[in-house]
Symmetry: C2
Amino acid sequence: MNTSAILGHLDDKFDQSVQHLIEWLRIPSVSTDPTFKPECQRAAQWLADDLNSIGFKAELRDTPGHPVVFAHHPGPVGYQGPHLLFYGHYDVQPPDPLELWESPPFEPTVVDGPHGKRVVARGAVDDKGQVMTFVEACRAWHTKGGGVPCRITCVIEGEEECGSVNMHGFLEDHREDIVGTRAGGSPCDFAVVSDTGMWDINTPAITYSLRGLVYLEVFLHGPSRDLHSGLYGGCVPNPINELARIISLLHDVNRRVTVPGFYDDVLPLTKAERDAWAALEFDEKEFLGEAGLSQGYGEKGYTLLERQWGRPTCDVNGIKGGYTGQGAKTVIASSASAKISFRLVPNQDPKRIVESFRKWINGQLAPGCRVEVVDHGTGRPCLTPMDHPAMSAARAALDEAMGREPVLMRSGGSIPIVEGFKSILGLETLLIGFGLNDDRVHSPNEKFELACFRNGQRSHAALLGRMAELRL
Amino acid sequence: MNTSAILGHLDDKFDQSVQHLIEWLRIPSVSTDPTFKPECQRAAQWLADDLNSIGFKAELRDTPGHPVVFAHHPGPVGYQGPHLLFYGHYDVQPPDPLELWESPPFEPTVVDGPHGKRVVARGAVDDKGQVMTFVEACRAWHTKGGGVPCRITCVIEGEEECGSVNMHGFLEDHREDIVGTRAGGSPCDFAVVSDTGMWDINTPAITYSLRGLVYLEVFLHGPSRDLHSGLYGGCVPNPINELARIISLLHDVNRRVTVPGFYDDVLPLTKAERDAWAALEFDEKEFLGEAGLSQGYGEKGYTLLERQWGRPTCDVNGIKGGYTGQGAKTVIASSASAKISFRLVPNQDPKRIVESFRKWINGQLAPGCRVEVVDHGTGRPCLTPMDHPAMSAARAALDEAMGREPVLMRSGGSIPIVEGFKSILGLETLLIGFGLNDDRVHSPNEKFELACFRNGQRSHAALLGRMAELRL
């Protein structure tokens, strides 16, 4: 069976694949909010059922949090080629603020856009839609090609949006099944992940580096109870003011992070890399304009692309304290909290950053204040070697599927587990994604271009064909 | 009828008066939240009915917000003495955070404490309980003394806890009824307000100065939508970080407010005043300890009492932005907001402070950010002359009721309308209150000591007797 027949089949069945994705998107699998636990279970089971219907042996495997969809396909009888680990996630970000959605986040809607039709829903591109590009490729090989052409293990988790806190443990516990001998007779050779973006709607991309993540929540405590701001104002530490002061101290005037040692392990960008990125002629104006901004703001001495792909950052993702209802309440809150995250680049160590931050913040407290720091999950940055044989196969497959050589890029985002594939399983990862910058990932009105959904399916189908021929 | 018979009657009927107060406290008249509008109306009507039952002519008068309870009593036939304006408020602060209440905020509970019994409920002392000290004194004069001994007009508003935004307009519109000739033939001579505190549980106090208030809400806008912190982190202004930075700039290292011109109109504390306050031997340790703190924190160069009574301050009363649910969400919010209030001292001008703040904050913005400032209400600081004849009468009345000379004090709190009594009606105000520092005003488990409730009733009864004899 040659790949072009599979690609043709994918095109024939494309409308059905969209309806199928929509069915999955209807399940509100918000992993960070315990209210949605049953929905996460339901989304996982939906996918396992689907994989079982196309020749995989799929099941849910428990974790201390949401289950992992674990599926295996041995490939053709007598198969001797590489064994591929496909990773994705079925959980999604919370949809709030709800009032900004133009259609309900869990009632997927197909609308017209400048690039043709798109599906709008929470999880459309991150990551259900991208997982389905792979599943549809497998389905086409199953239906039209008599089965997938190579050996595949799928690990689709349900906690990526809340830091993949249980995935490292899962990989350790299931190491034997993935890279050992039990699952079909040969160890995994590399991982494939579809949770990143294309260069633009016509140009595929392979992402060779991800930023790492440290996500902390800081609770600043002052008085033992809420106080009247008239009686106590100006006499006691105000936890909101103090938290604001501490946050303000996180950056210096050059927008560099001030936590001691923060930059110690940062691998400097090479001249070759900076030149290659400059040659991409990234349109900063368009990128910022799409977010309603006319100019960038960040670390001095770097272009926007360098800041996004190759430099570490710190952002407050949420803050809360005192009276936040309508109107006025003259209160001094007893505490205030902020969710503070750091994006890390190779070779920063999340554990070291957390330690430095804890030490630093304890040195910033006003008299009468104390701080609690809660760790919501960390992920190491990662870097895939350019000369891995699977990299060449993937470049050729993308060219075959889309008629254009992929751009080699980095991403500012984090997929915490990719580093785990390396450290726990010994695998390099190919990040081949089909999102666009304007997909509103994590924002209201998240969407996935159907053109990208189609190209993703075609690319994975071609990739599976190439992988089968690869001899490592 | 002499005053001692009235005081005896109050003591006899005290238990009934507690039950009566409890009935009023059950009505959740939270003025700042539109949900509770019908409850505010109900609380107002309850009071009007009560005043009508004790010889007043009471009615609700409309405002653009919640109604005012307006009541008049001409005093005895042929009365020639002073005409007293009694002001209070029937609205209460929101009860949140609800989970910290030991009994439901609107199910008043009488519990034992170190000073005997106390009633725990939202509004117990601020200000329903204090209003009822006056009403019970009038009831005793009505029942036992054949009617109140002097001419009284009551103005009990429903928006004090949200800045008394309609009270200045109300006073202007009803000026004729209060200080003109229509309401009983003689203009008001001074105002009496019970919304402040005693020096301690055994020592009454007259408050001769209140701080003013400016209460603003700042909305800081950055990107046009929420962004993924991986793709945009470090490349765009983060409204939460920027709001925190701006808040941090509000104070210098000496905890002085940095808004230009903020201190220009501040009346410096005199040596005599500072000496008198020092002589009070205020127990800072106890005051702070009750709030769970071991040391104070505020403007350099001033004692705690000086900071509270005589120095202006700035506090953030609430802050909100980004993801504040459980767990992690890697988002850069499109906006963040903070409720920022200033306490002012004589002779600061709220309008001037608002203008300076608006100008200042517009100069602090990072590229790509814009700010909205919403005014939630302002109140001028006030200062009552020590040599007003009503001041002497009040000092004697408190001594008569409680057997101890009152302390002359200031308050750090604000009652926005007191300045309006001066500027609109030409009246000086006597602030005679019966709260204690540990009453948890605006906090969970707000309470009113029954000993204070009783002494408040006795004091007002004695005050009415003295007022009747006063010839201005």
